[in-house]
């Protein structure tokens, strides 16, 4: 209990006193996570809509692969990216290993199947007759998709919340492809692992409170947006 209180106190002090390293790590965490979830949304939502509404040979296999991807261990994703980005690897010339871009790439790989899979499920559940009715209302193709996205708003937000949760919690791949380099690729999750390995449980707890606080605020905001105007 004392340890928890100490951690909470330290987290508070770190923020109030403006510990520059903590601020830098927190900002990097936010930047990396937001970029990753943004990319996953931009790819995953249209891909999910396409998979949910269309029928083509190989679609089921694609859905199986996406579902497998939802449970992909981040360490495995990290290993693949490391091999790809390694100096002698196929993408070694890009010199991306141990950069924030590599962490973003890893986070996209673990969150994209979640956003795509959950969006696709939401669109598969739509009543075929509703699609016909919207078309019959005189909707253009773009209007058609906007209406459908509004109808599946709850599920799409759930997909984003789940994807964001995965991104924020991810540590294995970030550690592997980012290297937890001070001032360059250190983020909150990798810092916590490092502090625990050093035996600095109070600092690790303080960082975990900051991470939980951020996750809470963002999830609360997304849930608020999701549930907006669902009254009367």
């Amino acid at each position: 209990m004392d340890l928890l209180l100490e951690g909470l106190k330290q987290a508070f002090n770190m923020f109030i006193n403006g510990d520059p390293e903590i601020w830098e790590i927190t900002l990097r965490t936010l930047k990396v996570s937001f970029t990753a979830i943004f990319i996953s949304m931009m790819i995953g939502i249209p891909a999910g809509i396409f998979l949910g509404l269309s029928r083509f040979p190989g679609r089921r296999i694609l859905l199986v692969l996406i579902n497998i991807g939802m449970g992909l261990p981040p360490v495995v994703a990290g290993l693949w990216i490391t091999i790809l980005l390694w100096r002698s690897g196929p993408l070694g010339d890009l010199a991306l290993l141990f950069t924030p871009t590599a962490i973003i790439l890893a986070q996209v790989i673990v969150s994209l199947p979640i956003v795509t899979g959950l969006t696709s499920t939401a669109f598969q559940q739509l009543d075929e007759k509703l699609l016909l009715q919207i078309k019959a209302l005189g909707a253009t193709k773009i209007q058609f998709f906007i209406i459908l996205m509004k109808e599946t708003k709850l599920a799409i937000f759930a997909a984003i919340i789940a994807g964001f949760g995965r991104v924020m919690a991810e540590v294995g791949a970030a550690m592997m492809v980012g290297g937890n380099i001070r001032g360059e690729t250190r983020i909150l999750t990798t810092s916590i692992v490092m502090e625990v390995s050093k035996g600095n449980f109070d600092v690790a707890l303080a960082l975990s409170f900051i991470l939980m606080g951020i996750a809470f605020i963002i999830t609360f905001t997304l849930t608020f947006l999701q549930q907006r105007k669902r009254r009367i």
């Binding site: 078309k135 209302l137 253009t140 209406i147 109808e151």
Partner: protein, 244 residues
Amino acid sequence: MTALVRLENIEVTVRDKMILSIPSLEVLKGEVLGVMGPNGAGKSTLLKTLALLDPPSQGKIYYQEEQIFNTQAPLELRRKCAVALQQSLLLDTSVYQNVAIGLKLRKNKKSEINKKVAYWLDAFNITHLAKKNAHLLSGGEAQRVNLARAMVLEPEFLLLDEPFSALDFPTKLQLLKDFKQIMSQTGTTAVFISHDLMEIKYLTHRLAILMDGEIKQLAQTAAVLESPNEAATPFIGEWKAFLQ
């Protein structure tokens, strides 16, 4: 009366199975054409073809004698039609927004939308529900919203697929009365699919009996009901026997 929509040698096939085969069918301006037939007769396919929602596998569709060439009917033609299906299929928003949606898609002015929506909410006696979420309505209320959503578009051509079937008798009766009055006031051309002889007798001018994807008989509603031909007799006869 001239034809608003004319079908010529229409065939719809799905996986080599003939779903609909109609050598000729005219929907006359201002009439309500009833379509009856057993389940799987092709009624909903006919509705989708007439509403220009699904192109037929073969044949020609003329809308006011203008032939629709493309596989997808032009948007401006589709927007002259309105469809109300058996399930009300309302969107997860207010009743007002549900009725207004078609006008918004057509980018009508806000003042015009307000005026038209208010008029049709009143015509279907649902003004008091305007702010209510459409998913919280009773079956009868939802079906009124469904019909108001179609009528607010002031369509040249209205297509109805059993819109009253899920309602209890008193609600159905009241809605049928209101709807008939609205149809006679507006003179809208309509195709009305139903399983219910009472609805067909009450609302339609002509009646087509559709069985196995083919029109077996097409004449004035009273004439078909009084003297069904050989092909239509089993279907109409069963109904009449049941009612007697």
